[in-house]
């Protein structure tokens, strides 16, 4: 236990990276997810096809493989990026595919009458999407998005393989130094758990705020 306390600063730094990767990837994932969902629903054939392939490939391959491809594979194309950047890119692209499916489902679940009512008042398709459909779809998408977010938090541990010093790798480094396993792994488990719980409760309160019109 003393060892853990001595190295708390080091572990906290790992937790910071875990959090950073989660938040950054989630942010870009949301942007990608929304764009891909809109391409699939409203885009021309080419966009629909690209979006569909993207989702299918990402969902059909392991995240670990995607991370490795981004980090080691891009070098072959003369693109060298740092491990942290690779983590951002790989995980954003990964989570974007899952979020696009969430958004697509949520948008499709809004009754057609909403769109027709807005059109009938003279609103354009884009105005209708932005002001009528998306606000309602977002509310529907929040619970599954929360799950994705928490999944993301745990999935960041995968980027330890490309030497990003996030939480898991921090523990691994300490284990290698001190030859004791349990205290370090138990403490990072606790840290993951705390972060997940905090996220969950934040999302719950957002959800409550958005449900004021039910």
């Amino acid at each position: 236990m003393d060892l853990v306390i001595q190295n708390l600063g080091f572990l906290a730094k790992g937790a910071y990276y875990t959090l950073l990767i989660t938040v950054v990837s989630m942010f870009f994932g949301l942007v990608i997810g929304l764009l891909v969902a809109l391409s699939r629903l409203k885009g021309n054939r080419l966009f629909q096809w690209i979006a569909k392939c993207y989702v299918s490939i990402i969902r059909g391959t392991p995240a670990l493989v995607q991370i490795i491809i981004v980090y080691y594979g891009l070098v072959d194309f003369g693109i060298t990026i740092g491990p942290l950047t690779a983590a951002f890119v790989a995980l954003s692209v990964n989570v974007g595919a899952f979020l696009s499916e969430t958004f697509r489902g949520a948008i499709q679940s809004i009754p057609k009458g909403q769109m027709e009512a807005a059109y009938a008042t003279g609103m354009t398709p884009w105005q209708t999407m932005r002001r009528i459909i998306l606000p309602q779809a977002t509310k529907i998408a929040i619970p599954p998005m929360g799950n994705t977010f928490i999944g993301m938090l745990k999935e960041t541990s995968l980027v330890s393989v490309i030497t990003v010093n996030e939480l898991l790798r921090s523990a691994q480094l300490l284990v290698a130094q001190y030859y004791v396993y349990l205290p370090f792994y138990l403490s990072i488990a606790a840290m993951y758990w705390i972060m997940s719980t905090v996220f969950s409760s934040i999302l719950n309160s957002v959800e409550k705020r958005l449900s004021k019109y039910d």
Partner: protein, 252 residues
């Protein structure tokens, strides 16, 4: 004025409207009657571009859309027509994430580019007109069906349309709530609003409509003054329809 010329509409193989021609003058209240599936909703929806025309043309507020026009041109004109028309739906279709007032304000701000204060005043006036000013801050889920439908009417009215389309505005309502919606519609008719109303409310058709259009199988079977339609319907189908409807009402 509204002018429909040789309008046909098909969904794939299914011909829903067959070569319809029709004119409606300003300030007229026209009720469209007909059995289920006869194409009443489709006809209304063609008039504000919620359905594409398969053949023929429509003219609304001096704007003409022809099935032969390019997609781009059709879209542009439809957009303009929608600014000059309003529609009230069977399921109200209020925006659930907006209050009654915000529902009415929405298009004033987004489409008419009114500033917020002006839009609010206008919307309050409209909600007052349908008797719901005291409910302006309620979300739709907190309003009865009749109240929701009246907000929907206020939302359409706020845009100062040349014509209002109603597609079975009272069909989703509990019987005791029908009256409050019809009352608003009667007032509008009296004030000279041009209205096309698809409904099964025979009393409304008899009392308020200037004219009844009876549709069957995608064709206009009858198009007469409302008194004439109910007292001396000429086609067999219209006779049968009137009989069924009145029996249905009495049977309840």
């Amino acid at each position: 004025m509204i002018k429909i010329t040789n309008l046909s509409k098909a969904f794939g193989e299914l011909e829903v409207l067959k070569d319809i021609s029709l004119q409606i003058a300003d300030q007229e209240t026209v009720v469209i009657l007909g059995p289920s599936g006869s194409g009443k909703s489709t006809l209304l929806r063609c008039l504000n571009g919620l359905e594409e025309l398969t053949e023929g043309s429509i003219e609304v507020s001096g704007l003409v859309v022809d099935a032969k026009d390019s997609l781009k041109k059709r879209k542009k004109i439809i957009q303009k027509i929608r600014r000059n028309t309003g529609m009230v739906f069977q399921q109200y279709n209020l925006y659930p994430h907006k209050t009654a007032l915000e529902n009415v304000m929405e298009a004033l701000i987004v489409v008419k580019k009114m500033d917020k204060r002006e839009a609010r005043l206008k919307s309050e006036e409209m909600l007052g007109k349908v008797g719901l000013l005291d409910r302006k801050d309620f979300y739709p889920s907190k309003l009865s069906g009749g109240q929701q439908q009246r907000v929907a009417i206020a939302r359409a009215l706020a845009m100062e349309p040349d014509v209002l389309f109603f597609d079975e505005p009272t069909s989703a309502l509990d019987p005791e709530l029908v009256g409050e919606v019809l009352r608003v519609m009667r007032t509008l008719a009296r004030e000279g609003m041009t209205m096309i109303v698809v409904t099964h409310e025979m009393k409304f058709a008899q009392d308020v409509a200037d004219r009844v259009i009876f549709m069957a199988d995608g064709c206009i079977e009858e198009d007469t003054k409302s008194e004439v339609f109910f007292s001396q319907p000429s086609s067999e189908r219209a006779k049968k329809f009137i009989k069924q409807i009145t029996e249905h009402v009495h049977g309840e």
